[in-house]
C-alpha cells in the first residue's frame, strides 16, 4: 500500500514492519528445516531476527497505545496543553520512524522524499517544543529530595550545589591528608 506520511500512517507502517519481520522469520525457520535442521536449531539460527521482530511488535504496540490513549487523555485538557501533548506524540512517533528507517524501507513503500519530510518534521518539532521543555519536566513534579541531584534542583543553582556536594567529601575535612606525611613528603625528599 502507498506510504502515508502521517502519524497514523507511520503507526500502520510499524505494524507492517512487525508483520513482515515475523513473516521473514517464519520463512527462514521453514527454509532451514527444509535444509535439514531440526526446529530448535532452525529457531536458534533465526533468533537474532526473532528478537528484532519482537521488538518491532512491541514498538508498534507502544506507538499505537501512546497515540490512542493520548487522544483520549487530551479530551479534557486545555487547548494549550493539548497542543503540547500532541506535539510530544508526534515527536515520539517520528523519532522512532527515523530510528527504524531501515525496517520501514525494507517492508513498506516509504520513499526518499517521505524520509526528508520526516526529518524536517522532526527538527521542526524539536524547535516547537523548545519553549516548553522546562515546563514539561516541571510537570513531572519531582521534588528535589526525590530527584536528589545537584544538577536538576528546581532552583537551577547547579554550580552552587556541585560545590556544596564536593565539600561533603571526607577528604575535604582536613587541608592536608595524612598520606602526605607517610608517602609524598618522603618521596619528594628522596627518602621513600
Amino acid at each position: 500500500p502507498p506510504w502515508d506520511n502521517t502519524i497514523e500512517g507511520i503507526i500502520e507502517g510499524f505494524h507492517v514492519v512487525a508483520a513482515g519481520k515475523i513473516g521473514v522469520c517464519v520463512n527462514q525457520i521453514e527454509k532451514r528445516q527444509k535444509a535439514g535442521l531440526c526446529y530448535e536449531d532452525a529457531w536458534n539460527m533465526t533468533s537474532v531476527q526473532l528478537a528484532s521482530a519482537s521488538e518491532a511488535h512491541c514498538r508498534a504496540i507502544i506507538l499505537a497505545t501512546y497515540f490512542k490513549e493520548t487522544q483520549i487523555r487530551v479530551d479534557s485538557a486545555s487547548p494549550a496543553l493539548k497542543q503540547v501533548l500532541l506535539q510530544l506524540v508526534d515527536l515520539y512517533v517520528v523519532y522512532w520512524a527515523l530510528a527504524r528507517l531501515g525496517d520501514l524501507l525494507r517492508f513498506t513503500s516509504i520513499s526518499e522524499r517521505d524520509v526528508e519530510q520526516l526529518q524536517s518534521w522532526y527538527e521542526d518539532l524539536l524547535n516547537k517544543l523548545r519553549v516548553n521543555a522546562v515546563g514539561l519536566v516541571d510537570g513531572f513534579d519531582i521534588r528535589d529530595e526525590i530527584l536528589n541531584s545537584a544538577l536538576g534542583a528546581f532552583d537551577g543553582r547547579a554550580y552552587e550545589r556541585l560545590m556544596e556536594e564536593a565539600m561533603k567529601s571526607p577528604l575535604n575535612a582536613e587541608p592536608v591528608n595524612k598520606s602526605f606525611h607517610d608517602y609524598l613528603k618522603p618521596l619528594m625528599q628522596g627518602k621513600l
Binding site: 508483520a19 521488538e55 521543555a133 515546563g135 541531584s149 528546581f154 537551577g156 561533603k168
Partner: protein, 473 residues
C-alpha cells in the same frame, strides 16, 4: 531561582499544574501524592550526614537497613492510622519515593514486592491466614529465591530439590551442586529470616517441576542461620549495593508439608501429587512484577530527563554566533535531540503500563473464572514490554547523563546511580533477550494461525492477519 530557568518558566505556553494533574490522574491524586511525599520526607529518613557514596560496602548496608526499618515503622503507623492498603506500600516503596529514600537499593523491598504477593497468589487460605498477618506486621522478614548461580530466566533448569518424605510428612531441601545455590535475591544475605524458595518437587520418585516452598533461614531470636542453611552476601555490584543480595545453599533442610504453597498444586500426606489447573498460573507474580517494572522505568526516565533538561537551561557553552554571548546549551538542536525523546518516552510508557495493567486485571479476572484464553497473549506482551521499556530507559538515562557532560559524571548528579538501578532492570525478572524470544514464540504461533486462518487472532496481534506483510513478501 536561576534567571535562565525562571525565564523558561515564564515563557511556557501551558499550565504546568494542569499537566501534573493529568499525569497523576486528577488534582485529587496530585494532592494525595504530595501529601504522601511530604509525610514520608518530613520524617527525614532520606537525610545522610555523610553521603552514602563515601561509606564502605558494609556501612552502606547498615545504613540501608537503618533507613528501611525507619521507613517500615512509618508504613506500619500509616497502616494503623489510615488503614493503608497495599497500594500505599507500593507508592512509598516503589518508584521515585522509595529510591529517593533508599538511594542504592533497599534490603526489605522483596518482602513487600515478592514474598507477600507470592503467598497471596499461591498460598491456600489457611496458609495466607498464617503467614500474611506475620508478614504485614513485620514479625518476620521474607524474601523470594528463584534464580540460581547456574540458572536464571530458564526456570525449568533450576536444580534445587525438595523431596517429599511421607514417613515424616516433610520436604527435604538440597542444593545438589554449587550451580544450584540460590544467587541474587535481595535481602537474602543478612536481612530476611524466611524465604520463598522455588525448587524442583520430587514425590513418590517422580519430579513434578518447580514449586514454591516457605523455608525458615534464620532463628527468629538470634538470627543465626539454621542447620543445613548456607547463606551469605554475593559481594559488590555495579549498583544497588544497599540491596543485600545473597546466596543460599541447602544441605538436607527439612520443612513441614504445609510449607509448600498449595493454592494451585498439592502434595497429599501420602505423597500423592495433585496437579495445578494450568502451569501458567504461577506466572501471576512475575507478570505483576513486570507491569510494576514498566511503571518504575517511567519514574527513572522522568527523573533523568528532569535533571538534564533543567541543567540544559542553566548551562551556557560555546558561542553560536561570534557577536552573541554563549547560549543556553538547550538552544543547540543536538541537545534537544538527546532530551526530548526522553520526555515523550515517559508519557508513552506511562500510558502503555496503565493500558497493560488494565489488561492484566481483565485477564486475571478471567483467570479466576478459569478462562485462560488471553493469558498467553498477556504473557507475551508483558515480556516484550518489560524488555523494551527497560532497554529504552537505560538508553535514555545514559543519554541524559552524557547530555550533562562532565557534571553528569559526578555522583552528586545522581545520574550514574540511576543508571545502575535502571540497567539492572534489563536483566532481572527475565533477561531482555530471553523475554523478546518468548514473545517471538507467541508471534510465530500467531503467524501460523493467521496463515491457516484458524480462529481469530487476539487483539494485540490482530494486525498480523490484517496487514499484507509488506513489500518483501
Amino acid at each position: 531561582v536561576n534567571g535562565d530557568l525562571q525565564r523558561e518558566r515564564d515563557n511556557c505556553t501551558f499550565s504546568v499544574t494542569e499537566l501534573t494533574n493529568l499525569i497523576d490522574g486528577d488534582a485529587q491524586k496530585t494532592e494525595e501524592r504530595k501529601q504522601r511525599e511530604e509525610m514520608v520526607l518530613k520524617e527525614g529518613i532520606h537525610l545522610e550526614p555523610v553521603p552514602a557514596v563515601y561509606l564502605s560496602h558494609k556501612e552502606k548496608y547498615e545504613l540501608a537497613v537503618k533507613k528501611s526499618c525507619a521507613l517500615f515503622k512509618m508504613i506500619k503507623r500509616l497502616q494503623e492510622e489510615e488503614n493503608a492498603g497495599m497500594e500505599n506500600y507500593m507508592a512509598v516503596l516503589g518508584g521515585s519515593l522509595g529510591s529517593a529514600i533508599l538511594g542504592d537499593g533497599n534490603p526489605i523491598t522483596l518482602h513487600y514486592v515478592m514474598f507477600i504477593p507470592t503467598i497471596m497468589g499461591q498460598g491456600t487460605v489457611e496458609q495466607q491466614a498464617y503467614w500474611i498477618g506475620r508478614a504485614f506486621n513485620l514479625n518476620i522478614i521474607g524474601t523470594y529465591a528463584q534464580t540460581e548461580l547456574g540458572h536464571g530466566t530458564f526456570i525449568r533448569g533450576l536444580e534445587t530439590t525438595a523431596t517429599y518424605d511421607p514417613s515424616t510428612k516433610e520436604f527435604v531441601l538440597n542444593s545438589p551442586t554449587l550451580t544450584s545455590y540460590k544467587w541474587w535475591p535481595g535481602g537474602l544475605a543478612h536481612t530476611a529470616n524466611y524465604c520463598i524458595v522455588m525448587a524442583q518437587l520430587y514425590t513418590q520418585g517422580k519430579c513434578h517441576g518447580i514449586h514454591p516452598f516457605i523455608v525458615q533461614l534464620r532463628d527468629e531470636e538470634s538470627h543465626m542461620p539454621l542447620r543445613g542453611i548456607k547463606v551469605g552476601e554475593i559481594g559488590a555490584k555495579l549498583g544497588m549495593n544497599g540491596t543485600n543480595n545473597g546466596f543460599l545453599g541447602f544441605e538436607n533442610v527439612r520443612i513441614p508439608r504445609d510449607h509448600m504453597l498449595m493454592k494451585n498444586s498439592k502434595v497429599l500426606e501420602d505423597g500423592t501429587y495433585v496437579n495445578a489447573p494450568n502451569s501458567k498460573l504461577t506466572y501471576g507474580t512475575m507478570m505483576f512484577v513486570r507491569v510494576m517494572i514498566v511503571n518504575d522505568m517511567c519514574n527513572y526516565i522522568a527523573k533523568a530527563v528532569t535533571i538534564a533538561t533543567r541543567y540544559s537551561a542553566i548551562r551556557r557553552q560555546s558561542k553560536m554566533k561570534p557577536d552573541e554571548p554563549e547560549p543556553q546549551i538547550i538552544d543547540f538542536l543536538t541537545q534537544r535531540h538527546k532530551l526530548f525523546i526522553g520526555i515523550a518516552s515517559v508519557h508513552a510508557f506511562k500510558l502503555s503500563s496503565e493500558w497493560i495493567w488494565n489488561m492484566y486485571n481483565n485477564v486475571t479476572a478471567e483467570l479466576e473464572s478459569g478462562d485462560l484464553e488471553r493469558l498467553p497473549e498477556l504473557h507475551a506482551l508483558s515480556c516484550c514490554l518489560k524488555a523494551v521499556s527497560t532497554a529504552d530507559a537505560a538508553e535514555c538515562v545514559e543519554r541524559c547523563r552524557l547530555a550533562c557532560g562532565g557534571h553528569g559524571y559526578m555522583l552528586s548528579s545522581n545520574l550514574p546511580l540511576m543508571y545502575g538501578l535502571v540497567t539492572a532492570a534489563c536483566t532481572y525478572e527475565g533477561e531482555n533477550t530471553v523475554m523478546l524470544l518468548q514473545t517471538a514464540r507467541y508471534l510465530v504461533k500467531s503467524w501460523h494461525q493467521a496463515r491457516q486462518d484458524s480462529g481469530t487472532l487476539t487483539p494485540t496481534v490482530s494486525y498480523i492477519g490484517r496487514v499484507a506483510s509488506g513489500r518483501r513478501m
